[in-house]
Symmetry: C2
């Protein structure tokens, strides 16, 4: 199970956090953009080259501190297929540096099409007599609205190729309650119904450390629901976005963890990516500023959750 690999990496680095790689061009230091635009012009290709160099600097600075990165597909698609190539190259570079890669695509579709997404983001495809790896992430975020047809096609790849998934349960955004908090007849909310499905789906992908290969996304901005879901879903690992710029703090995410300091990985994107802008660091020191912010976040969270021990 790929979430075992993630959990082991978290324990090794004693750091239950993931750096979101959501590289808007506005976040990228000027010297990187100037170099890329000089070579490729003010084009999508130039933008993509800038993103990739920015990401590589971040990965170099973070790879011995943070166990995982979470590139957000939207910020690469925003720069066309050229941006999507930068996504591919970012995933490959992070893996070369030993990081676990969660591709944040929130993909969802009917069965046959979900099979294509699974091959695209976690698996491989046959081309003529050969086999090619399109993106090769380690885990993919998915949206549950279509039910098990949108999840099942991931199981084969998760088993065979040692990959994982994170299903949206309670998202971090202000309007997440419009549908997710609605209560079904019988008293369950939509988010808790999805959570229970995930705990059930996870039985087919049991892990070595008490958590299955079917993780869930639960926002740091809803600490009560985090605590409720931690109790209700004892074998389900949490990806917790919303830390930092979105407003969640260390005390908010603490309920996502078990007594071994395991059970969740907390994501921050903007606060790490833009640390150089916030702290007033020289732009050449953007990666160093990101690493300092990542260490601060790790220390804040571990102070609440304690030493990480493999269960």
């Amino acid at each position: 199970m790929a979430l075992d690999r993630l959990i082991e990496k978290i324990a090794q680095l004693q750091n239950p956090t993931v750096a979101g790689l959501d590289p808007k061009l506005d976040y990228v230091p000027g010297f990187i953009k100037e170099k890329a635009f000089a070579k490729y012009g003010e084009t999508l290709e130039g933008a993509a080259a800038a993103l990739l160099e920015y990401n590589k600097g971040l990965i170099d600075a973070l790879c011995e501190i943070v166990p995982a990165v979470k590139p957000q597909c939207a910020y690469y698609e925003m720069y066309g297929w050229q941006g999507v190539k930068a996504l591919h190259d970012t995933i490959a570079y992070a893996q070369e540096k030993g990081m676990f890669v969660i591709t944040d695509g929130k993909r969802n579709d009917i069965g046959t099409t979900m099979q294509a997404y699974a091959a695209a983001h976690l698996g491989s495809v046959t081309v003529g007599g050969g086999n090619c790896i399109p993106f090769g992430g380690d885990a993919l975020t998915v949206n549950p609205y279509l039910g098990s047809d949108g999840i099942d096609p991931l199981f084969g790849i998760c088993k065979e190729a040692d990959k994982g998934m994170f299903v949206l349960v309670k998202t971090s955004n202000p309007s997440s309650g419009e549908l997710q908090d609605q209560v079904f007849e019988g008293g369950k909310t939509l988010y808790s119904a999805v959570g229970q499905l995930c705990e059930h789906w996870g039985e087919a992908l049991p892990g070595k450390h008490g958590y299955s290969g079917v993780g869930v996304v639960v926002g740091a901005t809803y600490p009560e629901q985090l605590a409720e879901l931690r109790t209700a879903l004892p074998h389900t690992f949490f990806l917790v976005p919303g830390y930092g710029a979105q407003g969640g703090g260390a005390k908010d995410v603490a309920p996502a963890f078990d007594s071994n300091g395991l059970g969740a990985i907390v994501n921050a994107s903007r606060s790490i990516l833009c640390a150089w802008q916030k702290t007033g660091a020289a732009e050449q020191d953007y990666a160093k500023a990101a690493a300092q912010e990542a260490i601060k976040m790790r220390d804040e969270i571990v102070a609440e959750t304690g030493k990480i021990t493999l269960g």
Copy 2:
């Protein structure tokens, strides 16, 4: 409103259908693959070149018969960034030939990230002093699980750049009911609650022909729900997948239409793409076979729904 453009094109061609461009390599005739592999090898680049040539042949054959195409992102992502470049080139080619392009990505995310998806698939991005168009589709399918934060960022682009959206309401797959058919306290199903939100969101994007810029996806495989939603959502245009290979027929989709023969566009993918394989046509005639299947589908549906008149 971009759905006005779609509706006018439907009336012009008297054809309320859309061809899904979901090009698995298995569907592509051998002569196209051989040519592409000879040039680029059995690589993702070779696969992408084959998909693009296949799509161009289909678009040439369909553009005077069918008003729109719906490329499914998964089948391009499956062939890496090279496949995503073929998606870009397919969208551009279809628009050159006068077709309306619905990018089927079922994208969803929190507000700031959804803004990036909106720019990626419908809008433009600033790079240095210039403005670039990443993919440039005419409408995008989106998933409602995150509530209005995942929809709002599309409104600006829909107004300014004359684009539209289709929100998943009741999907065509067998397990769509696992969540979508669950009943909330008060008696509404999840899908009907989402449908009502869409009718409400559409008030901000009113159209010339009685339908707003916020369309919804409702599967041909659930004709009762189609009829129920048509009545409940009088100003909401339907994208109806599931025709043909998934099992929906002309009588199943008829309830999606109003008395002017408007209100919906019906998608078929496999039955059109693979017509040459099913009919035993020569592989060189794959596009002709697709056009014949598209005409058959149009005639079957229009026989049920009648002449199309702009309301």
